[in-house]
């Protein structure tokens, strides 16, 4: 009961000494908010990456050209389909292309191969001569469904000093919904034949995705290796590991840089948490003169700091939630989404459970407890004789 009483007294003090409370909370929130926003975005992007990987093929096959992924003949898809355990072989043409001065991703797939995470505002899958474009791109190019877009137009030759231009016009049959994820924002989706002709790589695809029966990855990979030693084989597990490592590394680098901010927060908390306490020497002297033990005063001030931490943590979380969901994470998104720009044109993915939630409380407690050790102690050891002065 005694500790409960001291807890309530601490709560009363947090309310009574508003200035000190507000200063400590603002200091904590100022440090936590950018960190939590970045972590939430990182988790959001990681989640969307996982969705893409899980929707993708089990094995990706390309040619090995100078140690890099090389194009692969489209007809190999039919051959690979015959390998035991393979249920589907899907060639893809994927590359980057400038459209209207903006770098876009061009994806050519077979007709029956639309990933479920892509959904439309209105329109349908692209048939021959048709394309579906991302929302970011549509806004950039000011395009609506039904309009035309030329892709890959270029001067092929000069005949009598006159340029001979190949013009490739495509009909916009649909625009992706914003909820289709960040990958679809600058995407141009078309049939594989059109894509191949845009890149002028007839009969080739960038990779062939194989869908295999559970447990067959190893056997199919061995079969492919035997079929052609120049095949480059990457399984879904490998891709997933690369993604996890990549994001973990990015998060780690960000956190390593941010540790400096955390390290500087500790002296800041020392100053701010001591901010109001010096004015309370008389009050604490009175408490001790009326019978409070130093331990109890220590406990009360410690509880006050813990309460300020437990108020700051959710406040920082709510602030970063608003910053991302309402304002679409300006200035912070580019940290984790290259090319997103200060004000991203697409809804920035974010995830607030469980990691950012755990981190906000963990760091709030860690910084407050460590930063306020000295100030709490200074306040608690005030002599009771102080009350007689």
């Amino acid at each position: 009961m005694k500790h409960l009483n001291i807890l309530y007294a601490a709560a009363g003090n947090v309310v009574r000494h508003k200035l000190r409370s507000v200063v400590v909370i603002l200091c904590l929130v100022a440090v936590l908010f950018p960190f939590l926003s970045a972590i939430a975005i990182l988790e959001g992007v990681k989640t969307q990456s996982r969705i893409s990987v899980s929707e993708g093929a089990d094995i990706y096959v390309t040619m090995d050209m100078f140690g890099r992924n090389g194009v692969i003949p489209i007809e190999m898809a039919e051959v690979m389909k015959q390998i035991p355990g393979v249920t589907k072989a899907v060639p893809r043409a994927i590359g980057r292309i400038y459209i209207g001065g903006k770098l876009a991703v061009l994806l050519g797939i077979t007709d029956d191969e639309k990933p479920s995470s892509l959904n439309f505002i209105n329109g349908s899958l692209p048939k021959a001569g048709e394309i579906v474009i991302g929302r970011g791109l549509a806004e950039h190019l000011n395009l609506e469904v039904g309009e035309e877009l030329n892709i890959g137009t270029r001067v092929v030759a000069f005949i009598e000093n006159e340029p001979y231009i190949i013009k490739k016009m495509y009909h916009v049959s649909g625009i992706f919904d914003a909820q289709s994820g960040i990958w679809a924002s600058n995407l141009v989706l078309m049939s594989i034949d059109d894509a191949v002709s845009v890149f002028e790589m007839e009969d080739f695809a960038t990779d062939i995705g194989l869908y295999v029966r559970p447990g067959y990855e190893a056997a199919v990979s061995k079969g492919l290796q035997k079929m052609n030693p120049f095949f480059r084989i990457q399984t879904k597990g490998l891709v997933r590991t690369y993604i996890e490592r990549g994001f973990n590394m990015k998060g780690g680098i960000f956190a390593a840089l941010y540790v400096l901010a955390f390290a500087l927060t500790i002296p800041a908390i020392l100053v701010t948490s001591g901010f109001g306490l010096s004015g309370r020497r008389k009050e604490i002297g009175i408490l001790k003169a009326t019978g409070w033990q130093t331990h109890e005063v220590l406990e009360m001030v410690f509880f006050e700091n813990i309460m300020l931490a437990l108020i700051s943590a959710p406040s920082a979380l709510v602030l970063s939630f608003v910053w991302i969901k309402l304002f679409n994470a300006p200035f912070i998104a580019p940290l984790f989404i290259p090319g997103a720009g200060s004000i991203p044109p697409f809804p920035v993915p974010s995830r607030f459970m469980p990691l950012p939630f755990v981190f906000s409380f963990f760091f709030a407690l860690l910084l407050t407890m460590t930063g306020s050790i000295y100030s709490t102690w200074r306040a608690a050891i005030v002599s009771p004789a102080e009350a007689m002065k």
Partner: protein, 242 residues
């Protein structure tokens, strides 16, 4: 320099003795430059139920002696005995507990905590004792009623007069039902009317067999005291018994 060692055995306790100090010195910054001698070789005894006054001009060491007898500070030399037990070797925590259970303080400038209501101020000593909020409020209201402040219970100190603040401070001093009440210059910050009320309160407390220790240089309380100790430049200059 005597070694502050534990001497917790009773030494020749007389039944009516409450506090006794023997050969007490108080030297600030002892062993460091600028030593200040506040008290020198003071020995006195305060009986249970007595009304004792510490008299002397400013700087005579009244407040220092009050702090020592009230366990708020430690003597540099000599011993202080509470009911025969030597408390000089007590730890800071033990002294606080002793203060909470047996000693009530009324400070010169009342020392109420701002923005806390009167009953909350009165009941702050009960918080670490583990008494529930309802229990604290009930006990505070009983005392405030006795001191004629029931209708001012929810007012903050800033809204009370000097006399009222002093009575709230007295109620706080009484909340743990201590054996001794120590008042530091109680008449210096109140008007004549409040002084009369204070005298009545002190009489009632004495009749409730409380032990009163008052530091004052005001002669108005002198007629009511049993014993008056005269302090001069940190030394006991004289004792007069009623």
């Amino acid at each position: 320099m005597t070694n502050i060692r534990v001497r917790s055995q009773e030494s020749g306790v007389r039944r009516d003795e409450l506090i006794r100090c023997e050969g007490v010195w108080k030297i600030y910054n002892e062993g460091r430059p600028h030593e200040v001698q506040a008290l020198a070789d003071v020995s006195l005894e305060i009986k249970k139920g007595s009304f004792t006054i510490l008299n002397g001009p400013s700087g005579s060491g009244k407040t220092t002696l009050l702090a020592l007898l009230g366990t708020m500070d430690r003597p540099s030399r000599g011993g202080i005995f509470m009911k025969g037990k030597d408390i000089t070797g007590f730890s800071d925590t033990a002294l606080s507990t002793l203060r909470r259970d047996s000693i009530g303080f009324v400070f010169q400038n009342f020392n109420l905590i701002p923005r806390l209501s009167a009953w909350e101020n009165v009941s702050t000593p009960l918080i670490p004792a583990g008494v529930s909020e309802k229990g604290r409020r009930d006990r505070a209201m009983v005392l405030l009623e006795k001191l004629g402040l029931a209708d001012r219970a929810s007012h903050a100190p800033e809204e009370l007069s000097g006399g009222e603040q002093q009575r709230v401070a007295i109620a706080r001093a009484l909340i743990n039902n201590p054996e001794i009440i120590i008042l530091d210059e109680p008449t210096s910050n109140i008007d004549a009317e409040a002084t009369d009320i204070l005298i009545d309160i002190l009489k009632n407390l004495k009749s409730d067999s409380k032990t009163l220790l008052v530091s004052t240089h005001d002669q108005v309380l002198r007629p009511h005291a049993d014993t008056v100790f005269e302090l001069k430049r940190g030394r006991l200059a004289g004792i007069t018994h009623d």
